[in-house]
Protein backbone atom coordinates (compact mmCIF):
# COMPACT_ATOMS: atom_id res chain seq x y z
CA UNK A 1 0.00 0.00 0.00
CA UNK A 2 1.12 3.56 -0.68
CA UNK A 3 2.92 5.26 2.18
CA UNK A 4 1.23 7.96 4.25
CA UNK A 5 2.18 11.58 4.02
CA UNK A 6 1.66 13.36 7.34
CA UNK A 7 2.64 17.04 7.31
CA UNK A 8 5.39 16.37 4.80
CA UNK A 9 6.72 13.35 6.68
CA UNK A 10 6.53 10.03 4.84
CA UNK A 11 5.23 7.20 7.05
CA UNK A 12 5.84 3.66 5.76
CA UNK A 13 2.89 1.26 5.64
CA UNK A 14 2.92 -2.49 5.09
CA UNK A 15 0.91 -4.22 2.37
CA UNK A 16 -2.18 -4.26 4.61
CA UNK A 17 -1.92 -0.56 5.34
CA UNK A 18 -0.67 -1.00 8.91
CA UNK A 19 2.32 0.98 10.21
CA UNK A 20 5.67 -0.64 9.44
CA UNK A 21 7.07 0.95 12.59
CA UNK A 22 4.60 1.26 15.48
CA UNK A 23 6.98 3.77 17.09
CA UNK A 24 6.11 6.55 14.62
CA UNK A 25 2.48 6.71 15.75
CA UNK A 26 1.02 9.96 16.99
CA UNK A 27 -2.41 11.56 16.86
CA UNK A 28 -1.84 13.09 13.46
CA UNK A 29 -0.75 9.73 12.08
CA UNK A 30 -3.94 8.28 13.58
CA UNK A 31 -6.00 10.84 11.67
CA UNK A 32 -4.22 9.98 8.42
CA UNK A 33 -4.73 6.24 9.06
CA UNK A 34 -8.40 6.87 9.82
CA UNK A 35 -8.81 8.36 6.35
CA UNK A 36 -7.54 5.07 4.82
CA UNK A 37 -10.25 3.24 6.78
CA UNK A 38 -13.15 5.44 5.64
CA UNK A 39 -13.39 6.95 9.11
CA UNK A 40 -13.79 10.64 8.33
CA UNK A 41 -13.61 11.98 11.86
CA UNK A 42 -12.17 10.74 15.13
CA UNK A 43 -14.71 11.49 17.85
CA UNK A 44 -14.37 11.14 21.60
CA UNK A 45 -15.77 7.59 21.27
CA UNK A 46 -13.07 6.70 18.73
CA UNK A 47 -10.34 8.08 20.98
CA UNK A 48 -11.59 6.10 23.94
CA UNK A 49 -11.07 2.88 21.95
CA UNK A 50 -7.78 4.04 20.43
CA UNK A 51 -6.34 5.11 23.77
CA UNK A 52 -7.35 1.85 25.42
CA UNK A 53 -5.71 -0.13 22.62
CA UNK A 54 -2.53 1.95 22.81
CA UNK A 55 -2.23 1.64 26.58
CA UNK A 56 -2.74 -2.12 26.40
CA UNK A 57 -0.27 -2.43 23.55
CA UNK A 58 2.37 -0.46 25.42
CA UNK A 59 1.98 -2.72 28.44
CA UNK A 60 1.64 -6.10 26.70
CA UNK A 61 2.91 -5.67 23.13
CA UNK A 62 -0.28 -7.01 21.60
CA UNK A 63 -3.96 -6.15 21.15
CA UNK A 64 -6.28 -7.09 24.03
CA UNK A 65 -8.99 -9.72 23.88
CA UNK A 66 -11.94 -8.26 22.01
CA UNK A 67 -14.17 -9.10 24.98
CA UNK A 68 -11.88 -7.14 27.26
CA UNK A 69 -11.79 -4.19 24.88
CA UNK A 70 -15.59 -4.08 24.93
CA UNK A 71 -15.84 -4.43 28.69
CA UNK A 72 -13.22 -1.82 29.51
CA UNK A 73 -14.45 0.79 27.03
CA UNK A 74 -18.11 0.07 27.74
CA UNK A 75 -18.83 -0.33 24.02
CA UNK A 76 -20.36 -3.51 22.65
CA UNK A 77 -19.09 -5.08 19.45
CA UNK A 78 -21.86 -3.49 17.41
CA UNK A 79 -20.81 -0.05 18.58
CA UNK A 80 -17.15 -0.80 17.82
CA UNK A 81 -18.11 -1.81 14.28
CA UNK A 82 -20.06 1.44 13.94
CA UNK A 83 -16.97 3.37 14.96
CA UNK A 84 -14.53 1.24 12.97
CA UNK A 85 -16.34 -0.39 10.03
CA UNK A 86 -13.64 -3.01 9.39
CA UNK A 87 -13.81 -4.07 13.03
CA UNK A 88 -11.72 -4.02 16.19
CA UNK A 89 -8.87 -6.24 14.95
CA UNK A 90 -8.44 -4.46 11.62
CA UNK A 91 -9.79 -0.90 11.64
CA UNK A 92 -9.33 -0.01 15.28
CA UNK A 93 -5.91 -1.65 15.64
CA UNK A 94 -4.71 -0.05 12.41
CA UNK A 95 -5.71 3.47 13.45
CA UNK A 96 -4.25 2.92 16.91
CA UNK A 97 -0.93 2.00 15.27
CA UNK A 98 -0.82 -1.61 16.48
CA UNK A 99 0.57 -4.53 14.52
CA UNK A 100 -2.03 -6.44 12.58
CA UNK A 101 -3.56 -9.30 14.60
CA UNK A 102 -3.00 -12.53 12.67
CA UNK A 103 -3.95 -16.19 12.96
CA UNK A 104 -7.48 -17.57 12.79
CA UNK A 105 -9.13 -14.17 13.16
Amino acid sequence: MADLNVNGQVIALDEDGFLEDAGVWNEEVALALAATEDVSELTEDHWKVINYLRNYYEQFGVAPMIRKLCKETGYDLKKIYELFPSGPAKGACKIAGLLKPTGCV
Binding site: D16, F60, P64, I66, P101, T102, C104, V105
Partner: protein, 447 residues
Protein backbone atom coordinates in the same frame (compact mmCIF):
# COMPACT_ATOMS: atom_id res chain seq x y z
CA UNK B 1 -5.72 -3.94 -7.86
CA UNK B 2 -7.27 -6.23 -10.48
CA UNK B 3 -9.69 -8.97 -9.54
CA UNK B 4 -7.10 -11.58 -10.51
CA UNK B 5 -4.43 -10.00 -8.28
CA UNK B 6 -6.94 -9.88 -5.44
CA UNK B 7 -6.98 -13.67 -5.56
CA UNK B 8 -3.25 -14.17 -5.06
CA UNK B 9 -1.84 -14.03 -1.52
CA UNK B 10 1.18 -11.83 -0.80
CA UNK B 11 4.55 -13.57 -0.83
CA UNK B 12 6.62 -13.56 2.36
CA UNK B 13 9.85 -11.61 2.08
CA UNK B 14 11.54 -13.22 5.06
CA UNK B 15 11.65 -17.01 5.31
CA UNK B 16 14.38 -17.26 7.94
CA UNK B 17 11.97 -18.89 10.40
CA UNK B 18 11.58 -21.84 8.02
CA UNK B 19 15.37 -22.20 7.74
CA UNK B 20 15.13 -22.35 3.97
CA UNK B 21 17.59 -20.72 1.63
CA UNK B 22 15.63 -18.83 -1.03
CA UNK B 23 16.34 -19.77 -4.65
CA UNK B 24 17.12 -16.92 -7.09
CA UNK B 25 14.16 -16.29 -9.39
CA UNK B 26 16.05 -17.30 -12.52
CA UNK B 27 17.12 -20.59 -10.92
CA UNK B 28 13.64 -21.59 -9.80
CA UNK B 29 12.57 -23.72 -12.80
CA UNK B 30 15.69 -25.91 -12.55
CA UNK B 31 15.42 -26.16 -8.77
CA UNK B 32 11.71 -26.97 -8.99
CA UNK B 33 12.40 -29.89 -11.31
CA UNK B 34 15.02 -31.29 -8.94
CA UNK B 35 12.70 -30.86 -5.96
CA UNK B 36 9.84 -32.58 -7.74
CA UNK B 37 12.14 -35.47 -8.64
CA UNK B 38 13.24 -35.81 -5.01
CA UNK B 39 9.69 -35.59 -3.73
CA UNK B 40 8.51 -38.32 -6.08
CA UNK B 41 11.07 -40.66 -4.51
CA UNK B 42 9.63 -40.48 -1.00
CA UNK B 43 6.02 -39.43 -1.54
CA UNK B 44 4.55 -42.51 -3.14
CA UNK B 45 1.04 -41.09 -2.85
CA UNK B 46 2.06 -38.13 -5.01
CA UNK B 47 3.41 -40.38 -7.75
CA UNK B 48 0.32 -42.57 -7.56
CA UNK B 49 -2.05 -39.59 -7.85
CA UNK B 50 -0.11 -38.28 -10.83
CA UNK B 51 -0.18 -41.68 -12.50
CA UNK B 52 -3.72 -42.93 -12.05
CA UNK B 53 -6.00 -40.02 -12.98
CA UNK B 54 -8.24 -41.00 -15.91
CA UNK B 55 -9.47 -37.43 -16.49
CA UNK B 56 -13.03 -38.64 -15.96
CA UNK B 57 -14.00 -35.29 -14.47
CA UNK B 58 -16.02 -36.72 -11.57
CA UNK B 59 -14.25 -34.26 -9.26
CA UNK B 60 -14.99 -31.06 -11.17
CA UNK B 61 -18.51 -30.30 -10.02
CA UNK B 62 -17.75 -31.56 -6.49
CA UNK B 63 -15.10 -28.94 -5.82
CA UNK B 64 -16.34 -25.77 -4.09
CA UNK B 65 -13.29 -23.93 -5.40
CA UNK B 66 -14.35 -24.55 -9.00
CA UNK B 67 -18.05 -24.02 -8.22
CA UNK B 68 -17.31 -20.75 -6.45
CA UNK B 69 -14.73 -19.29 -8.83
CA UNK B 70 -15.70 -20.93 -12.16
CA UNK B 71 -11.99 -20.90 -12.99
CA UNK B 72 -11.33 -24.14 -14.93
CA UNK B 73 -7.91 -24.51 -13.31
CA UNK B 74 -9.76 -24.96 -10.02
CA UNK B 75 -11.24 -28.27 -11.12
CA UNK B 76 -9.19 -30.76 -9.07
CA UNK B 77 -8.26 -32.65 -12.23
CA UNK B 78 -6.96 -29.46 -13.86
CA UNK B 79 -5.19 -28.29 -10.71
CA UNK B 80 -3.23 -31.53 -10.47
CA UNK B 81 -2.68 -31.43 -14.23
CA UNK B 82 -0.44 -28.40 -13.60
CA UNK B 83 1.98 -30.87 -12.03
CA UNK B 84 1.03 -33.95 -14.00
CA UNK B 85 2.04 -32.38 -17.32
CA UNK B 86 5.56 -31.77 -15.97
CA UNK B 87 5.65 -35.24 -14.44
CA UNK B 88 4.65 -36.79 -17.78
CA UNK B 89 7.50 -35.10 -19.57
CA UNK B 90 10.28 -35.73 -17.09
CA UNK B 91 9.45 -38.54 -14.68
CA UNK B 92 6.65 -40.81 -15.88
CA UNK B 93 7.36 -44.38 -16.98
CA UNK B 94 7.44 -45.02 -20.71
CA UNK B 95 9.25 -43.58 -23.71
CA UNK B 96 9.57 -39.83 -23.87
CA UNK B 97 8.37 -39.70 -27.48
CA UNK B 98 4.89 -40.77 -26.37
CA UNK B 99 4.78 -38.43 -23.43
CA UNK B 100 4.95 -35.37 -25.68
CA UNK B 101 1.53 -36.28 -27.10
CA UNK B 102 -0.13 -36.11 -23.72
CA UNK B 103 0.24 -32.43 -23.02
CA UNK B 104 3.66 -32.77 -21.42
CA UNK B 105 5.24 -29.44 -20.65
CA UNK B 106 8.54 -27.86 -19.69
CA UNK B 107 8.81 -26.50 -16.20
CA UNK B 108 9.13 -22.75 -16.68
CA UNK B 109 8.51 -19.61 -14.66
CA UNK B 110 4.92 -19.48 -15.84
CA UNK B 111 4.33 -22.97 -14.44
CA UNK B 112 5.71 -21.88 -11.07
CA UNK B 113 3.47 -18.81 -11.05
CA UNK B 114 0.48 -21.01 -11.80
CA UNK B 115 1.48 -23.40 -9.01
CA UNK B 116 1.67 -20.55 -6.51
CA UNK B 117 -1.67 -19.20 -7.61
CA UNK B 118 -3.71 -22.38 -7.91
CA UNK B 119 -2.25 -24.33 -5.00
CA UNK B 120 -3.41 -21.38 -2.90
CA UNK B 121 -6.94 -21.72 -4.29
CA UNK B 122 -7.28 -25.29 -2.99
CA UNK B 123 -8.49 -25.50 0.62
CA UNK B 124 -7.09 -29.02 1.09
CA UNK B 125 -10.65 -30.03 1.99
CA UNK B 126 -10.45 -33.54 0.45
CA UNK B 127 -14.00 -33.49 -0.87
CA UNK B 128 -12.75 -34.43 -4.35
CA UNK B 129 -11.26 -37.59 -2.87
CA UNK B 130 -14.71 -38.67 -1.67
CA UNK B 131 -15.98 -38.60 -5.25
CA UNK B 132 -12.90 -39.68 -7.24
CA UNK B 133 -13.29 -43.27 -8.51
CA UNK B 134 -9.52 -43.68 -8.16
CA UNK B 135 -9.36 -42.08 -4.71
CA UNK B 136 -7.09 -39.23 -5.72
CA UNK B 137 -6.74 -36.82 -2.83
CA UNK B 138 -5.88 -33.39 -4.24
CA UNK B 139 -5.20 -32.10 -0.73
CA UNK B 140 -2.10 -34.30 -0.61
CA UNK B 141 -0.93 -32.91 -3.93
CA UNK B 142 -1.54 -29.36 -2.74
CA UNK B 143 0.36 -30.01 0.50
CA UNK B 144 3.28 -31.45 -1.48
CA UNK B 145 3.31 -28.60 -3.99
CA UNK B 146 3.16 -25.90 -1.31
CA UNK B 147 6.12 -27.64 0.33
CA UNK B 148 7.98 -27.57 -2.98
CA UNK B 149 7.13 -23.88 -3.41
CA UNK B 150 8.41 -23.19 0.12
CA UNK B 151 11.76 -24.69 -0.86
CA UNK B 152 11.83 -22.29 -3.81
CA UNK B 153 11.24 -19.40 -1.38
CA UNK B 154 7.55 -18.99 -2.20
CA UNK B 155 5.44 -18.96 0.97
CA UNK B 156 2.55 -16.63 1.71
CA UNK B 157 3.27 -13.72 4.00
CA UNK B 158 0.33 -14.81 6.15
CA UNK B 159 1.61 -18.35 6.70
CA UNK B 160 5.22 -17.32 7.31
CA UNK B 161 4.06 -14.74 9.87
CA UNK B 162 2.10 -17.37 11.75
CA UNK B 163 5.04 -19.77 11.90
CA UNK B 164 7.20 -16.96 13.23
CA UNK B 165 4.65 -16.13 15.93
CA UNK B 166 4.34 -19.78 16.87
CA UNK B 167 8.09 -20.22 17.27
CA UNK B 168 8.41 -17.09 19.38
CA UNK B 169 5.37 -17.39 21.65
CA UNK B 170 3.82 -20.86 21.30
CA UNK B 171 0.73 -19.50 19.59
CA UNK B 172 -0.15 -18.37 16.07
CA UNK B 173 -1.31 -14.92 17.10
CA UNK B 174 2.03 -14.11 18.70
CA UNK B 175 0.44 -13.25 22.06
CA UNK B 176 3.16 -12.98 24.73
CA UNK B 177 2.67 -14.89 27.98
CA UNK B 178 1.91 -11.82 30.18
CA UNK B 179 -0.93 -10.90 27.83
CA UNK B 180 -2.28 -14.46 27.90
CA UNK B 181 -2.22 -14.44 31.71
CA UNK B 182 -3.91 -11.05 31.79
CA UNK B 183 -6.61 -12.34 29.45
CA UNK B 184 -7.19 -15.49 31.48
CA UNK B 185 -7.55 -13.50 34.70
CA UNK B 186 -10.10 -11.32 32.95
CA UNK B 187 -12.05 -14.38 31.78
CA UNK B 188 -12.07 -15.77 35.32
CA UNK B 189 -13.62 -12.50 36.48
CA UNK B 190 -16.16 -12.76 33.67
CA UNK B 191 -17.01 -16.31 34.74
CA UNK B 192 -17.46 -15.13 38.33
CA UNK B 193 -19.75 -12.35 37.18
CA UNK B 194 -21.79 -14.72 35.01
CA UNK B 195 -22.11 -17.68 37.39
CA UNK B 196 -21.24 -16.39 40.85
CA UNK B 197 -18.76 -19.26 41.09
CA UNK B 198 -14.97 -19.36 41.24
CA UNK B 199 -14.28 -21.23 38.03
CA UNK B 200 -10.54 -21.33 37.32
CA UNK B 201 -8.68 -21.29 34.03
CA UNK B 202 -5.45 -22.84 35.33
CA UNK B 203 -2.03 -22.73 33.74
CA UNK B 204 1.01 -24.99 34.21
CA UNK B 205 -0.56 -27.20 36.85
CA UNK B 206 1.67 -30.26 37.21
CA UNK B 207 0.03 -33.68 37.21
CA UNK B 208 -3.34 -32.24 36.18
CA UNK B 209 -5.51 -34.89 34.56
CA UNK B 210 -5.96 -32.95 31.32
CA UNK B 211 -3.77 -30.57 29.34
CA UNK B 212 -6.22 -28.58 27.25
CA UNK B 213 -4.80 -27.08 24.07
CA UNK B 214 -7.06 -24.35 22.66
CA UNK B 215 -6.73 -22.37 19.46
CA UNK B 216 -5.11 -19.02 20.19
CA UNK B 217 -8.13 -17.27 18.69
CA UNK B 218 -10.02 -18.66 21.72
CA UNK B 219 -7.96 -16.12 23.67
CA UNK B 220 -8.83 -13.25 21.35
CA UNK B 221 -12.14 -13.48 19.51
CA UNK B 222 -13.72 -16.80 20.53
CA UNK B 223 -13.59 -16.36 24.29
CA UNK B 224 -17.11 -17.77 24.85
CA UNK B 225 -15.71 -21.15 23.81
CA UNK B 226 -12.83 -21.11 26.28
CA UNK B 227 -15.12 -19.99 29.12
CA UNK B 228 -17.48 -22.84 28.25
CA UNK B 229 -14.62 -25.34 28.42
CA UNK B 230 -13.66 -24.02 31.87
CA UNK B 231 -17.26 -24.46 33.05
CA UNK B 232 -17.44 -28.02 31.70
CA UNK B 233 -14.22 -29.15 33.39
CA UNK B 234 -15.35 -27.45 36.61
CA UNK B 235 -18.72 -29.21 36.59
CA UNK B 236 -17.23 -32.58 35.67
CA UNK B 237 -14.73 -32.24 38.48
CA UNK B 238 -11.74 -32.81 36.25
CA UNK B 239 -8.38 -31.21 37.05
CA UNK B 240 -7.11 -29.48 33.94
CA UNK B 241 -4.52 -26.99 32.84
CA UNK B 242 -3.31 -24.88 29.97
CA UNK B 243 0.41 -24.78 29.15
CA UNK B 244 2.52 -21.64 29.00
CA UNK B 245 4.66 -23.38 26.35
CA UNK B 246 1.91 -23.78 23.81
CA UNK B 247 -1.64 -22.52 23.44
CA UNK B 248 -2.31 -23.49 19.87
CA UNK B 249 -4.07 -26.40 18.33
CA UNK B 250 -3.94 -24.90 14.80
CA UNK B 251 -0.84 -26.46 13.23
CA UNK B 252 -0.25 -24.44 10.06
CA UNK B 253 2.80 -26.52 9.19
CA UNK B 254 0.42 -29.20 7.91
CA UNK B 255 -0.56 -26.88 5.06
CA UNK B 256 2.86 -26.28 3.57
CA UNK B 257 5.92 -27.32 5.58
CA UNK B 258 6.36 -30.70 7.20
CA UNK B 259 9.24 -29.79 9.55
CA UNK B 260 7.10 -26.99 10.99
CA UNK B 261 4.20 -29.39 11.45
CA UNK B 262 6.47 -31.87 13.25
CA UNK B 263 7.96 -29.21 15.52
CA UNK B 264 4.54 -27.87 16.52
CA UNK B 265 3.43 -31.38 17.40
CA UNK B 266 6.65 -32.03 19.34
CA UNK B 267 6.13 -28.88 21.37
CA UNK B 268 2.71 -30.02 22.54
CA UNK B 269 3.86 -33.52 23.37
CA UNK B 270 6.78 -32.08 25.35
CA UNK B 271 4.44 -29.77 27.27
CA UNK B 272 2.26 -32.75 28.17
CA UNK B 273 5.24 -34.81 29.31
CA UNK B 274 6.69 -32.00 31.43
CA UNK B 275 3.39 -31.42 33.19
CA UNK B 276 2.84 -35.14 33.64
CA UNK B 277 -0.79 -35.06 32.49
CA UNK B 278 -2.92 -38.14 31.84
CA UNK B 279 -4.14 -36.95 28.45
CA UNK B 280 -4.09 -34.03 26.06
CA UNK B 281 -7.44 -32.63 24.96
CA UNK B 282 -7.49 -30.68 21.71
CA UNK B 283 -9.80 -27.70 21.30
CA UNK B 284 -11.94 -26.71 18.32
CA UNK B 285 -9.70 -26.73 15.25
CA UNK B 286 -10.17 -28.93 12.19
CA UNK B 287 -6.77 -29.42 10.61
CA UNK B 288 -5.05 -29.22 13.97
CA UNK B 289 -7.17 -32.14 15.07
CA UNK B 290 -6.23 -34.13 11.99
CA UNK B 291 -2.58 -33.59 12.87
CA UNK B 292 -2.98 -34.50 16.54
CA UNK B 293 -5.08 -37.61 15.92
CA UNK B 294 -3.54 -38.97 12.76
CA UNK B 295 0.13 -37.94 12.90
CA UNK B 296 1.28 -37.29 16.48
CA UNK B 297 2.00 -40.85 17.47
CA UNK B 298 3.82 -41.55 14.20
CA UNK B 299 6.06 -38.51 14.22
CA UNK B 300 6.56 -37.93 17.96
CA UNK B 301 5.56 -41.21 19.52
CA UNK B 302 5.30 -43.43 21.32
CA UNK B 303 3.21 -41.18 23.54
CA UNK B 304 2.74 -41.78 27.26
CA UNK B 305 -0.81 -40.40 27.01
CA UNK B 306 -3.64 -40.27 24.49
CA UNK B 307 -4.53 -37.15 22.50
CA UNK B 308 -8.30 -36.82 22.43
CA UNK B 309 -10.69 -34.25 21.08
CA UNK B 310 -12.75 -32.03 23.36
CA UNK B 311 -15.92 -33.57 21.91
CA UNK B 312 -14.82 -37.10 22.79
CA UNK B 313 -13.94 -35.91 26.29
CA UNK B 314 -17.22 -34.06 26.88
CA UNK B 315 -19.28 -36.88 25.39
CA UNK B 316 -17.80 -39.18 28.00
CA UNK B 317 -18.90 -36.78 30.76
CA UNK B 318 -22.38 -36.56 29.25
CA UNK B 319 -22.85 -40.30 28.78
CA UNK B 320 -21.70 -41.05 32.31
CA UNK B 321 -23.92 -38.35 33.82
CA UNK B 322 -21.10 -36.14 35.09
CA UNK B 323 -22.62 -33.18 33.28
CA UNK B 324 -26.10 -32.35 32.02
CA UNK B 325 -27.48 -29.83 29.58
CA UNK B 326 -30.66 -27.78 29.62
CA UNK B 327 -31.38 -27.53 25.90
CA UNK B 328 -34.10 -24.91 26.43
CA UNK B 329 -31.20 -22.45 26.84
CA UNK B 330 -30.56 -22.84 23.09
CA UNK B 331 -34.03 -22.54 21.53
CA UNK B 332 -32.86 -21.25 18.12
CA UNK B 333 -32.69 -23.30 14.92
CA UNK B 334 -29.11 -24.53 14.75
CA UNK B 335 -27.37 -26.18 11.82
CA UNK B 336 -23.98 -27.85 11.85
CA UNK B 337 -21.02 -27.23 9.55
CA UNK B 338 -18.66 -30.21 9.38
CA UNK B 339 -15.08 -28.92 9.40
CA UNK B 340 -13.34 -30.78 6.55
CA UNK B 341 -10.63 -32.20 8.73
CA UNK B 342 -13.12 -33.58 11.26
CA UNK B 343 -15.38 -35.25 8.71
CA UNK B 344 -12.81 -36.21 6.06
CA UNK B 345 -9.66 -36.59 8.08
CA UNK B 346 -10.30 -36.84 11.80
CA UNK B 347 -13.09 -39.32 12.49
CA UNK B 348 -15.37 -36.75 14.12
CA UNK B 349 -18.80 -36.88 12.54
CA UNK B 350 -21.31 -38.33 15.01
CA UNK B 351 -19.74 -37.12 18.27
CA UNK B 352 -20.49 -33.41 17.73
CA UNK B 353 -24.01 -34.30 16.58
CA UNK B 354 -24.71 -36.28 19.74
CA UNK B 355 -23.56 -33.28 21.78
CA UNK B 356 -25.59 -30.85 19.69
CA UNK B 357 -28.78 -32.86 20.04
CA UNK B 358 -28.23 -32.84 23.79
CA UNK B 359 -27.65 -29.08 24.12
CA UNK B 360 -29.90 -27.39 21.52
CA UNK B 361 -33.64 -27.71 20.92
CA UNK B 362 -33.77 -27.40 17.14
CA UNK B 363 -30.90 -29.03 15.30
CA UNK B 364 -31.29 -29.29 11.53
CA UNK B 365 -28.87 -30.98 9.13
CA UNK B 366 -27.78 -29.11 6.05
CA UNK B 367 -27.43 -30.68 2.61
CA UNK B 368 -24.90 -31.97 1.73
CA UNK B 369 -23.55 -32.97 5.09
CA UNK B 370 -21.01 -35.10 6.97
CA UNK B 371 -18.26 -36.37 4.65
CA UNK B 372 -20.03 -34.72 1.72
CA UNK B 373 -20.12 -31.29 3.36
CA UNK B 374 -18.61 -28.31 1.54
CA UNK B 375 -15.61 -26.46 2.93
CA UNK B 376 -16.03 -22.98 4.46
CA UNK B 377 -13.50 -21.68 1.92
CA UNK B 378 -10.88 -20.77 4.52
CA UNK B 379 -9.35 -24.23 4.83
CA UNK B 380 -5.57 -24.68 4.55
CA UNK B 381 -5.16 -21.19 5.98
CA UNK B 382 -6.64 -19.18 3.11
CA UNK B 383 -7.58 -16.44 5.55
CA UNK B 384 -5.58 -13.57 4.10
CA UNK B 385 -7.31 -10.20 3.91
CA UNK B 386 -5.74 -9.52 0.52
CA UNK B 387 -7.43 -12.64 -0.86
CA UNK B 388 -10.88 -11.60 0.35
CA UNK B 389 -12.36 -11.74 -3.13
CA UNK B 390 -11.14 -15.32 -3.43
CA UNK B 391 -12.33 -16.23 0.08
CA UNK B 392 -15.92 -15.18 -0.52
CA UNK B 393 -15.93 -17.00 -3.88
CA UNK B 394 -14.60 -20.18 -2.23
CA UNK B 395 -17.28 -19.88 0.46
CA UNK B 396 -20.18 -19.40 -1.94
CA UNK B 397 -21.33 -23.05 -2.18
CA UNK B 398 -21.34 -23.29 1.63
CA UNK B 399 -23.32 -20.06 1.91
CA UNK B 400 -26.09 -21.54 -0.23
CA UNK B 401 -26.18 -24.73 1.86
CA UNK B 402 -26.57 -22.67 5.05
CA UNK B 403 -29.19 -20.39 3.52
CA UNK B 404 -31.32 -23.39 2.56
CA UNK B 405 -31.52 -24.56 6.18
CA UNK B 406 -33.07 -21.32 7.42
CA UNK B 407 -30.95 -21.72 10.57
CA UNK B 408 -30.41 -18.85 12.98
CA UNK B 409 -27.17 -20.28 14.32
CA UNK B 410 -24.43 -21.95 12.32
CA UNK B 411 -22.38 -24.20 14.59
CA UNK B 412 -18.85 -24.37 13.16
CA UNK B 413 -16.43 -25.91 15.63
CA UNK B 414 -13.11 -24.95 14.02
CA UNK B 415 -11.07 -21.77 14.47
CA UNK B 416 -10.52 -21.27 10.74
CA UNK B 417 -14.22 -21.82 9.97
CA UNK B 418 -15.13 -19.34 12.74
CA UNK B 419 -12.90 -16.70 11.17
CA UNK B 420 -14.05 -17.37 7.61
CA UNK B 421 -17.78 -18.08 7.82
CA UNK B 422 -19.00 -14.74 9.24
CA UNK B 423 -17.27 -12.97 6.32
CA UNK B 424 -18.77 -15.39 3.80
CA UNK B 425 -22.30 -15.27 5.26
CA UNK B 426 -22.21 -11.49 5.42
CA UNK B 427 -21.00 -11.20 1.82
CA UNK B 428 -23.64 -13.60 0.48
CA UNK B 429 -26.32 -12.07 2.70
CA UNK B 430 -27.12 -15.17 4.74
CA UNK B 431 -28.55 -14.00 8.06
CA UNK B 432 -26.97 -16.37 10.56
CA UNK B 433 -24.73 -16.19 13.62
CA UNK B 434 -21.62 -18.39 13.73
CA UNK B 435 -20.77 -20.15 16.99
CA UNK B 436 -18.55 -22.95 18.20
CA UNK B 437 -20.05 -26.09 19.67
CA UNK B 438 -18.34 -25.23 22.99
CA UNK B 439 -20.22 -21.93 23.08
CA UNK B 440 -23.57 -23.73 22.77
CA UNK B 441 -22.59 -26.36 25.35
CA UNK B 442 -21.54 -23.59 27.74
CA UNK B 443 -24.91 -21.90 27.44
CA UNK B 444 -26.82 -25.12 28.12
CA UNK B 445 -24.60 -26.57 30.85
CA UNK B 446 -26.37 -27.03 34.18
CA UNK B 447 -23.86 -25.85 36.77
Amino acid sequence: MSKEQARIPYEAKDLSVLRLAPVAVEDRPKAALELLGEMLKYKRSLRLYLDVCTHCGACAEQCHSYLGTKDPYNMPVARVELVRRVYKKFFAPGRSVFRAWEGAKDLDQETIDQWYKYFHQCNQCRRCAVFCPKGIDTAEVTIAMRELLAHLGLVTKFHAGIVKNMEKTGNNMGTPLPAIKDGLEFLEEELKEETGLDIPIPMDVERAEVLFNPSSSDLFTNTDGLMAVAKIFYKAGVSWTLSSRIAETANFGLFFHEPTMREHSRRLVQAGKELGVKRIVAGECGHGWRTWRMFTDTINGPLPFPVVHLFEEVLEYLRTGRIQFDKSKNPEVVTYHDPCNYARGGDLIEQPRELLRACVENFVEMTPTKQYSFCCGGGSGILMDEAMDLRVALGQPKAECVRATGAEILCAPCAICKAQLPVVMDHHKVDVRVKGLSDLMGLALIL
